[in-house]
Structures are given as C-alpha cells and as structure tokens.
C-alpha cells in the first residue's frame, strides 16, 4: 500500500516568500511550548509549599499584636515569594537548553526555518510567562491570607466593644496598614528580578557543561549579586577608597558589570514597613532589570549562535 499524500500540496513555487529573520509567530510557538513543558513537569507544586508556609506562619503570628502581626506576615510572605520566584527562575531555566541538546530535539527545531535568536527568545519568554503566573498565584494566596487575617482581627475589635467612633478608627488604621499599595511595587520588583535571573541562567547554560554547573554558578551569582552593593559602598568610603589600588577598583567595576546588582531589587524591606517607594525609583529599578536581561540575552545569543550542536 502506498500511502496517499494530499493532492492539495502546492506545486513548487518558483519564488519563495522572503524569509523573515524574526517572526513573532514562531517565537510564540516556542514560548508556548516551553511553558507547557514546565507546567507538565509539575513545577507548580512548589506553590503548595508556599501556601503551607503562609498558613503556618500566620498561625504562629496570631500571638503578636495586630500591627506586628501584619508586618511579619508581609515580611514573611514577600520574602518567601522573592526567594521562591528567584529559585524557580534559576531551576526552570537551567535545564532547558541542555535537555534539548541531549534529546536532540534542538536538531528538529533548528532544522525548521527557526533562527537561533528566535529559539532563545522563545525559551526565555516561556519562562517569563511561567514566572508571571507563579507570582500572580502567590500574590493571590498572599492576598487571601491577608484578607482573612484582616477579617478576623476586625471582628475581634468589634467584639471588644468600645465607642463606635474608636472602633471605626481602629479598623481604618488596620486596613491602612494591611493593604498598602506598595505591595504592588513589591510584586513587580520580585517578578523583574526573577526575569533577570532567568536571562542570566539562560546565558550561563549556553556555555556550561552541565545543568548542575549552571545552577551552582547561578546560586553564586545570586549571592554575589546580593552582596556586591555592600562591597561597593564599602570601597567608596573616601578614607578607604584612598587606600584601594586601581586593581581593586577594576575588580569591583568588573564584578558590578558581570553580576547584576540584585540588592537594587530588595526594596522589599521598605515596602513592608510601608515607606512609599517612589514612582521613579520603581521604574528606574524595573528599567535596570530590563537592561540587564537584554544584555544577558545578547550575550547568550553571541555564544549560542556559534555553538556546535
């Protein structure tokens, strides 16, 4: 039996439509595929751990005064969100390229009219999407927890009695401390930081010899990135800077170029306390994150475009 091949296949065109160097449709297909892969690897199960953490901590916090309680709850939740998302960004991205190379799926993808840039961008956008969904889900969990606590404490205040005016005042104060709009800024910064880390991880994985190696490097980057600002500040104290030789200065310049200044994204403490994060500071930080991500993406493309598969 000779299987039939459809008749409607076009006769060979003499002139082909010009190939587009960068096609959003292809990038979308690659991103969707990456997202599906990560979701089907059951990565979202980590949200259960996050939920568990929230519930346990709020159970412990009940003993504190209500102001402290909300402070702590926000502290713990945003801190956990930040660490979880960062970890997720590193772990999810580290394996993507090595796996495709090992399974030779990369051959079949790149044998299609897909450029290596499209491939990298697609992978990265898939991870960004995953991170977005995680941050949103964690945010919802956090918000539900917060509202539940607010509800609980409100009814406690009401039950305690007192003049209607005083009660209302207390409740308003409570609401104001609990829901401060800076929480949004916190969420955005956590997300941008995670995207930055994902881009850096993708870059490392283009030349790393194994997934473990990539993860180790990235954990180091994470710590150095969180500390480098401190180091820089230290050497910028005039009395010390006088002693620092050019070698140290060059070294520090190098470090701040290669390692992202992750501390810039740690405005969380201020957010938790309720200090308002200025509009410009927020967008400056987001811009910094985008810039870093673009630099890492370019570097990844630079390495990957010449890589022997």
């Amino acid at each position: 039996m000779i299987p039939a091949i459809s008749e409607d296949a076009p006769a060979f065109p003499t002139a082909y439509p010009r190939h587009r160097f960068f096609s959003p449709a292809r990038v979308r297909a690659l991103a969707a595929n990456t997202f599906t892969e990560l979701v089907r690897l059951k990565i979202f199960y980590f949200l259960l751990i996050f939920a568990l953490l929230l519930i346990t901590s709020s159970a412990i916090l009940i003993q504190l005064s209500f102001q402290d309680q909300f402070q702590m709850l926000k502290d713990v939740s945003l801190g956990a969100m930040s660490i979880f998302t960062s970890l997720l960004a590193i772990l999810a991205t580290a394996g993507l390229l090595p796996k495709d190379i090992e399974d030779r799926t990369l051959y079949t993808v790149l044998a299609k009219p897909v450029s290596r840039l499209e491939y990298l961008v697609g992978k990265l956008l898939g991870v960004y999407l995953l991170l977005l969904v995680s941050v949103v889900l964690m945010g919802i969990l956090f918000f539900v927890m917060l509202s539940w606590r607010v509800h609980y404490v409100t009814s406690e205040i009401r039950a305690a009695g007192g003049s209607a005016e005083a009660t209302q005042q207390q409740i308003d104060l409570l609401r104001a401390t609990a829901y401060n709009p800076n929480l949004w800024s916190g969420g955005i910064l956590i997300y941008v930081k995670a995207c930055l880390l994902a881009s850096a991880t993708l870059f490392v994985s283009t030349f790393a010899s194994s997934t473990i190696f990539t993860i180790i490097i990235m954990v180091a980057v994470y710590f150095i990135g969180n500390m480098q600002a401190t180091a820089r500040d230290y050497w910028q104290v005039p009395s010390i800077a006088g002693q620092a030789g050019w070698l140290i200065k060059a070294f520090l310049a190098f470090v701040s170029l290669v390692f992202p200044d992750l501390q810039a994204f740690n405005l969380l403490d201020e957010i938790v306390v309720g200090t308002s994060v200025g509009f410009w500071l927020l967008w400056k930080t987001v811009g910094l994150g985008v810039l870093y991500s673009l630099i890492y993406l370019s570097a990844a493309f630079f390495v990957f475009s010449d890589k022997e598969l």
């Binding site: 039996m1 000779i2 299987p3 039939a4 091949i5 459809s6 296949a9 076009p10 060979f12 082909y16 010009r18 190939h19 160097f21 096609s23 449709a25 292809r26 979308r28 297909a29 690659l30 595929n33 599906t36 892969e37 089907r40 690897l41 399974d103 030779r104 799926t105 051959y107 079949t108 993808v109 790149l110 044998a111 299609k112 009219p113 897909v114 450029s115 010449d306 022997e308 598969l309």
Partner: protein, 293 residues
C-alpha cells in the same frame, strides 16, 4: 543546468577533542551533488561521517572548510530551511507533548495556523498511522512510533527536500516497508530525498544514486544501476517447470551457444521479510485490540 537540490563542495569537518591535541576528521574533502527529484543514499560504516555530513547540510554544525548549498542557497543560513524536512537519527521529541501537539508545534514553526494547520496535522497522523495514538504523550511511544512521528514532522511544511538519517532504524518490517513506500511516494511527487541507512536491501530498492563514505572520504559515487548491475548475467525464474524443460534448455544452450554457461540453478526462497509480513499482518486484528507497534 538546473540548480542541484544539494550541492556539497570540498566539505571538511574536523572535531577537536577537548583537552587533547588530537582531532577527529569526520569528513574529508567531500564533494557531491544531488539532482532535484533524486533519491540519494549515503552509505558507510559506523562513524564514517554520514550524520555529520547531513548536519552540515542542514546548517546545524558549521563546516571546517568547504560549502554546502540547498537549492542554491547557502545552507548555513536559516532561510534555506524553508524547503527542507529533517529526521535526525534516533529522534527524541518533547516527551510531555502528545503526538498531535508535537505536530502542531512543528507546524507553527513552519508558519502554519488555523484550519490549514489542523488539516495538515490530521493528514500526516493518518499517513504515518498514528491516529490512534494522537492523544498519547510521546513519553509512552515506542521507538518505531517516534520514528514515524519524526517522519511526519519532517513532512509538515511540504518540503522540496527530505533529509532522513536512518529513517527505518528500529522500525518493524511493516513500518519499515511503509516508510520505504512513503519515500517512493515522495519521490513520485518530485521531492528530493537524501537518506542514509544500513539496510542495504532497502537502499537498493529505492535509491537512484548512492555515495559510499569510509572514514570521512567518499570512496564510490554513482548511479546505483551502474555500480551494481552485472551486465553479462541474466536471471530467469520459472513456475511449474518440469525437469524435462530445464534439461532441454541445457541441451539447447550447449548445442547452439557454447559461450554461455549456467552458473547457478536453485529453488528461490521467499524472503524473510515477505514471510514475516505474511505471518504477522495477514492475521486479522482481533476485535477491540488496538493496533500498535
């Protein structure tokens, strides 16, 4: 002169071995052309550089020297891939996707969408007999099924050129016969095919032209007929021939054609392949039993 489907000119590929001074010469000064519409078989022992050559032709790795073209376009550039379908050796696809999703993904990469995409995917699933397994994840596919989904994936954008690296490795005789028929069908539609395989019987059946590589060097190249036909011999196969007839032929030969000689006379046997197909697939499929590889 028409542009060749594939042109390989003075291609060499050297792999450095990390941390050592040595280097592996995978392909050495290889030149060949595949004309449009031909089925070209690249043969050679393990490690002779067949897969390496194919990967360079597809721009997956870069040559150390020389140049490759697909329909006149430099194959290191992405746009030349529009007209090529590739099946790598021992392909693995994304395990977490179903057969249907896999083809959909590759179709998207080739710019298909909407109804055209669904039609094409459905048609190809039927073509490679994976309709029953379309909603199963590839992680649960057998080797032959993976090979077939790989072939479907290679055909997804109606390419003008197919590059198949051991398309029948690990496929059962029926599947392998089907893949062979499929290649023949592609050829009839004018698709050029470059394949490599260790199943020489099949290569002999379908290839117009072959090249034999040995340790990276092209040692023989040419039209299959020219290379293997034995011009001065003829084969005859009779049915129901009584011994007397054979004796008479012998006598006639001895009397009138003294230069002719009978080299061999034997009962032909059915091939193992034909026998295998007869006993396994002639059997009706029991009710309710789903067909699988």
């Amino acid at each position: 002169m028409t542009t060749p489907a594939i042109a390989i000119r003075n291609l060499s590929k050297v792999f450095p071995i990390p941390f050592k001074r040595e280097r592996v010469v995978a392909v050495h000064d290889l030149s060949l052309e595949v004309a449009p519409g031909q089925v070209y078989g690249l043969l050679g022992p393990n490690g002779s550089g067949k897969s390496t050559t194919m990967k360079i032709v597809l721009g997956l790795i870069s040559p150390s020297a020389g140049r490759t073209e697909i329909f006149g376009r430099n194959s290191q550039l992405v746009d030349s891939h529009e007209e090529v379908g590739f099946l790598p050796e021992n392909p693995y696809f994304y395990k977490y996707l179903t057969g249907f999703e896999t083809l959909k993904f590759y179709a998207r990469l080739c710019g298909l969408s909407g109804q055209a995409l669904r039609d094409k995917v459905g048609e190809l699933l039927k073509l490679v007999r994976l309709e029953d397994a379309r909603d199963r994840r590839l992680g649960g596919y057998s080797k032959g099924m993976l090979q077939r989904i790989g072939l479907a994936q290679a055909l997804i954008q109606n390419p003008r050129l197919l590059v198949l690296d051991e398309p029948t490795a690990g496929v059962d005789p029926r599947g392998s016969a089907e893949i062979r028929d499929l290649i023949v069908a592609c050829k009839e539609r004018g698709i050029t095919v470059l394949l490599c395989s260790h199943l020489l019987g099949q290569v002999q059946e379908i290839c117009d032209r072959i090249g034999i590589l040995d340790r990276g060097v092209l040692v023989r190249e040419g039209k299959l007929e020219d290379l293997i036909s034995i011009e001065d011999q003829t084969e005859m196969i009779f049915e129901n021939a009584p011994p007397a007839l054979l004796a008479e032929i012998g006598k006639l030969m001895a009397a009138s054609y003294p230069e002719a000689r009978l080299l061999e006379q034997k009962k032909p046997r059915t091939t193992l392949e034909r026998y295998f197909l007869e006993v396994t697939y002639a059997r009706p499929i029991p009710d309710g039993g789903s067909e699988s590889t």
